[in-house]
């Protein structure tokens, strides 16, 4: 055994990028809320970032191999918690996403499930010894992912449920997929689309609404298409240079829906313009590339899969959120990681980065 990895061995570049994104986020949360009843949100976000950093240090100190060893137990714990949420969790915002813990703070069990699925799939995939996954492997991966996805879907939380899928997809891709399975997968997806479209009547009314809004945003500008249109107006009216910090009329007058959270990128686009969007998106690209770099340098398969699981989730978040803000995707309630206001979402990202640090610190070990 070599010496114990230390905090000094963190990937400081990665942390710097995350820090830059967080700072921009906190400033934009301030700008979006300082003149409203929600004043002071940025302080709460800072506290959550602090909690997240502490969690990151904590999770990086436990060897990821030890975490992976506990994967089955963690999986059962996660699924069990999701069941408890479903059974006794109290309704909040029409969804049973929140569970009271210690009566002090609310923890989103679904966020925890994201971390668990990363660890569980990393564990499973690291055990695969073939260059390409067998059909049995694929079925197992689908089943492992499918159970929590289904449980989160019935909460109902379409957005978070969707987020688990790329972990499995990216993992399977990296582990190697046979050509025939590619074909089967594509055909299956091709079949799912019309079936899903016919099943849309079984969706919750708000989900039906969101899909309808996405397909026909112009139908009712004061109603369903309102959020997307207002977001586009904010983004578009920002122009190249933006209207200036705290000067976005769409943002300041509350036309941008949940401008401090899911639509924070629209608020930023209005006030900081295309230039600001470039900076933010390039920071995210830098974050993703840096994560892939970490994956490439991981000591073993397990570490690589852990890092790429985190990468898949964060990348998916950024892609879906940014696309939603400009009207390329329907409103799904997926926040922009590190920028959107939200305690458990922010904490999750730092814990996920903790896993990455964990792998990074141990790349030279033994």
């Amino acid at each position: 055994m070599k010496e114990r990895p230390r905090v000094q061995d963190f990937d400081w570049n990665l942390l710097a990028i995350a820090g830059a994104i967080c700072s921009i986020g906190v400033l934009e949360i301030y700008s979006a809320t300082h003149a409203s009843a929600m004043v002071g949100m940025q302080s709460r976000q800072l506290i959550w970032i602090g909690i997240g950093l502490a969690g990151m240090i904590l999770i990086s100190s436990i060897d990821y191999h030890a975490l992976l060893e506990q994967a089955p137990a963690l999986y059962l714990f996660g699924v069990g918690m999701l069941l408890i949420v479903l059974l006794i969790g109290h309704a909040r915002s029409g969804a049973k996403r929140w569970i009271a813990v210690g009566g002090l703070m609310n923890l989103q069990v679904s966020e925890l499930m994201k971390l668990i699925i990363i660890i569980v799939l990393a564990r499973y995939l690291s055990e695969v010894r073939t260059d390409r996954l067998t059909f049995k492997d694929l079925v197992k991966i689908a089943a492992l992912t499918g159970v929590p996805v289904a449980l989160i879907l019935v909460q109902p939380d379409l957005g978070t449920a969707m987020v688990l899928v790329p972990v499995a997809a990216v993992g399977a891709f990296l582990a190697g997929i046979q050509w025939k399975h590619w074909v089967v997968g594509v055909v299956l997806i091709g079949l799912m689309v019309p079936i899903g479209w016919n099943m849309r009547h079984h969706l919750k009314p708000y989900q039906q609404q969101r899909i309808r809004t996405f397909v026909h945003p112009e139908e009712n500008p004061r109603g369903a298409g309102y959020q997307i249109l207002q977001s586009q107006i904010a983004v578009g009216s920002g122009g190249f240079w933006g209207k200036g910090f705290g000067k976005g009329s769409q943002n300041q007058l509350g036309f941008v829906p949940v401008r401090y959270s899911d639509f924070i990128l629209a608020a930023l686009a209005e006030e900081q313009g295309f230039i600001g969007v470039c900076v933010v998106l390039l920071l995210y690209l830098g974050l993703i590339l840096r994560l892939v770099d970490n994956a490439q340098k991981a000591k073993d398969r397990a570490g690589m899969f852990v890092v790429m699981g985190v990468t898949a989730i964060l990348g998916f978040h950024v892609l879906v959120n940014a696309a939603m803000v400009i009207g390329y995707m329907p409103v799904t309630g997926i926040p922009l990681p590190l920028m959107s206001y939200g305690g458990s979402a922010t904490a999750f990202v730092f814990l996920a980065l903790g896993l990455v640090m964990n792998v990074h610190m141990r790349r030279f070990v033994n």
């Binding site: 191999h65 030890a66 992976l68 060893e69 564990r123 690291s126 055990e127 695969v128 010894r129 990216v170 891709f173 990296l174 582990a175 190697g176 004061r222 207002q230 586009q232 107006i233 904010a234 983004v235 578009g236 009216s237 920002g238 122009g239 190249f240 009329s249 769409q250 007058l253 509350g254 036309f255 686009a269 313009g273 295309f274 969007v277 470039c278 998106l281 390039l282 995210y284 690209l285 993703i288 590339l289 892939v292 994956a295 490439q296 073993d300 398969r301 397990a302 690589m304 790429m308 990468t311 990348g315 892609l319 940014a322 696309a323 400009i326 390329y328």
Partner: protein, 620 residues
């Protein structure tokens, strides 16, 4: 080390690199998306953002007042409140309806009907549920702001016709802009704008109407006003001064109060209308608020046509007043010698038909002068027969009959002066010579409006000057016409009209005024025979005319009065109102010159002219 089997074999780096490339490509796709919105379509979205947050609230410009010739206010505007019902929240309205019903005294059924009628309009557009809110209504809305947020007050400018029915048919009224006006206005009007609908309100709408201002405010996403942006003040409409003399108007109104007909007094030298009455009429104040549809139908189908301005729209048989035209044509055409006399036995036969004189006993031997003074029908039957219809038409048309006078009011009628050509054109047959006999005494096909008759008589008395009647003081370049008449004709005809009032036995003998050369001609046009009238249960089958003027030559004032559905003769029915107006005109004139005289004498301080003294008295 971990207890499970770790596969130490690394996966191909290429797959990870592929992930990086895909990330870069997706980042570029997103940036292109932002570029499209923020750079390519930036202008469009800036526009939308502006529309989002800026709400324009019109500031209604008050309409200009109307003043009489001495500056007395006849019509003005005053601020008033309308109560709006905001329709954003249907449930809230449902809950509030009973309370609104009690508080504002409007029936719930009515409110539901209005809501129903507006259900296809955008939800954010409120409806007006009470157009003229009383102080109690305003207090109700103000005190229930918290629990009845669906109510809102809106300030509007409302028209006030200070004297109600006085001059109503000339003034006209205002109302909401119609759909067709809206279309033609090319964006100048918005739905609900108030415009002049009839009369002077319509004629001088462009002057009276101001330019609405605009208050622009910044609103937030729930429509709450955050701060004012800028104001474009409303430009009030300009006042117009009328040629109407309130005092003469008041006398005419009083004299005509319970009659049906029209009176118009005009300055014969300039065409300035001094008084104009059409009865029955209505109070235009009733029109400044919405007129219920059934009420409107009733007004339009009323046989007494209260919406009509009879001075310019009633086309009546002129009766014996037309004999002045005949007399003028006779002398002027020289077709008949001026010494022409006729023996009147009370009737005469033409073309195998018997025509009666209004005097069954007959007038005996009648010359030109007596024919006018006694209004002998038989004399003018003969004149008509000798002149022929085309010669009559030439002089009548020359004196302004059968064509519009050009008065500055909308909807003036032509009247009708028949001719051979007209019969050919309209009825496709030849003129019946017998018809000329009827026309000769102002019956038959000939019709004229009171304003045409006033102008024609004034023209004869002033040697052929046809003025353009007008109500706007200082109308730029009124169109005058000259139909030149010889001095001899004017002298003889005006002598006749002087005789009507001032000589014993004249048809207007009771109208004689001391020190005033009141001249004129009466007329009694029979709409149907007394027998037919009796069968229809109508005792009153006459239109009584009197057209008077003073002085005899080059008159200052001319007054035409037509009283419809009367049993009296023209001199009795219409004469007194003409006399009263002319008398008042001269009394004022005398008072004015006395005042002027005392003003020129500094030792005598004259009291201020009672300009405002009459303003408060409401004419009933």
């Amino acid at each position: 080390m971990a207890s499970w089997n770790i596969n130490e074999e690394k996966i191909p780096q290429g797959r990870l690199s592929l992930f990086s490339y895909v990330s870069v490509i997706l980042a570029i796709v997103l940036l292109v998306g932002f570029w499209k919105l923020q750079v390519v379509q930036s202008g469009h979205f800036l526009d939308l953002a502006e529309r989002n947050q800026v709400r324009s609230i019109p500031i209604i410009a008050p309409r200009g007042p109307m003043l009489d010739r001495e500056g007395r206010v006849l019509v003005d505007s005053y601020p008033s409140f309308s109560i709006l019902l905001l329709r954003d929240d249907a449930k809230l309205i449902e809950k509030s309806l009973p309370q609104i019903e009690r508080g504002l005294d409007v029936s719930e059924e009515d409110l539901r009907d209005q809501l129903d009628a507006a259900k296809d309009e955008p939800k954010f557009q409120p409806i007006v549920i009470k157009p003229a809110a009383s102080e109690a209504d305003i207090a109700f809305v103000e005190s229930h702001r918290a629990d009845l947020p669906v109510l809102e007050l809106m300030m509007v400018e409302r028209r006030r016709y200070s004297y109600g029915e006085m001059l109503a048919s000339a003034i006209g009224y205002v109302g909401e802009v119609s759909a067709s006006q809206l279309e033609q206005s090319a964006g100048r009007y918005r739905p609900g704008d108030i415009v002049g609908k009839t009369g002077l309100e319509k004629q001088y709408n462009d002057v009276l109407e101001g330019t609405d201002g605009m208050r622009r405010v910044v609103v937030n996403s729930v429509g709450k006003v955050m701060r004012p942006l800028d104001n474009v003040e409303a430009i009030p409409g300009k006042p117009i001064q009328l040629t109407i003399d309130y005092d003469l108007q008041a006398i005419a109104e009083t004299d005509m109060a319970d009659k049906q007909g029209a009176v118009v007094a005009m300055d014969a030298r300039t065409g300035e209308i001094l008084a104009m009455v059409s009865r029955p009429t209505l109070d235009p104040n009733d029109f400044t608020i919405r007129v219920p549809a059934d009420e409107w139908k009733k007004l339009n189908s009323d046989p007494e046509s209260p919406l009509m301005n009879r001075v310019i729209q009633a086309q009546l048989a002129p009766g014996s007043v037309f004999k002045i035209i005949m007399a003028t044509a006779m002398l002027e055409s020289k077709a008949i010698p001026e010494t022409f006399t006729v023996f009147c036995p009370g009737h005469a036969e033409f073309y195998g038909r018997t025509f009666h004189c209004w005097q069954p006993k007959g007038h005996g031997e009648v010359d030109f002068h007596r024919a006018i003074v006694d209004s002998c029908d038989v004399y003018f039957y003969n004149v008509g027969k000798l002149l022929g219809i085309d010669r009559i038409d030439y002089y009548a048309t020359g004196l302004g009959l059968g064509r519009r006078t050009g008065i500055d009011l909308p909807g003036e009628e032509n009247g009708l002066m028949p001719s051979e050509e007209w019969v050919q054109r309209v009825y496709h047959h030849k003129w019946y010579a017998g018809e000329t006999i009827s026309v000769a005494i102002g019956q038959g096909a000939v019709t004229a409006t009171p304003i045409q008759m006033a102008r024609a008589i004034a023209a004869v008395a002033s040697g052929g000057l046809l003025v353009q009647p007008h109500l706007l003081k200082g109308l730029t370049s009124p169109k005058e016409e000259r139909f030149s008449l010889s001095e001899d004709t004017v002298e003889k005809v005006t002598q006749g009209m002087y005789g009507v009032v001032n000589e014993g036995g004249g048809t207007g003998g009771s109208l004689k005024l001391a020190n005033i050369e009141l001249c004129g001609k009466s007329g009694t046009a029979q709409l149907m025979s007394y027998e037919v009238g009796k069968r229809l249960g109508k005792n009153n089958v006459n239109t009584g005319w009197f057209v008077g003027y003073a002085p005899r030559r080059n008159p200052e004032i001319v007054v035409a009065a037509a009283v419809q559905d009367t049993s009296e003769h023209g001199g009795e029915a219409a004469g007194p109102v003409v006399r009263d107006i002319v008398k008042a005109y001269y009394e004022k004139k005398t008072a004015r010159s006395q005042q002027q005289a005392s003003a020129e004498n500094p030792s005598q301080v004259a009291p201020a002219h009672p300009l405002v003294a009459t303003a408060g008295a409401k004419q009933q």
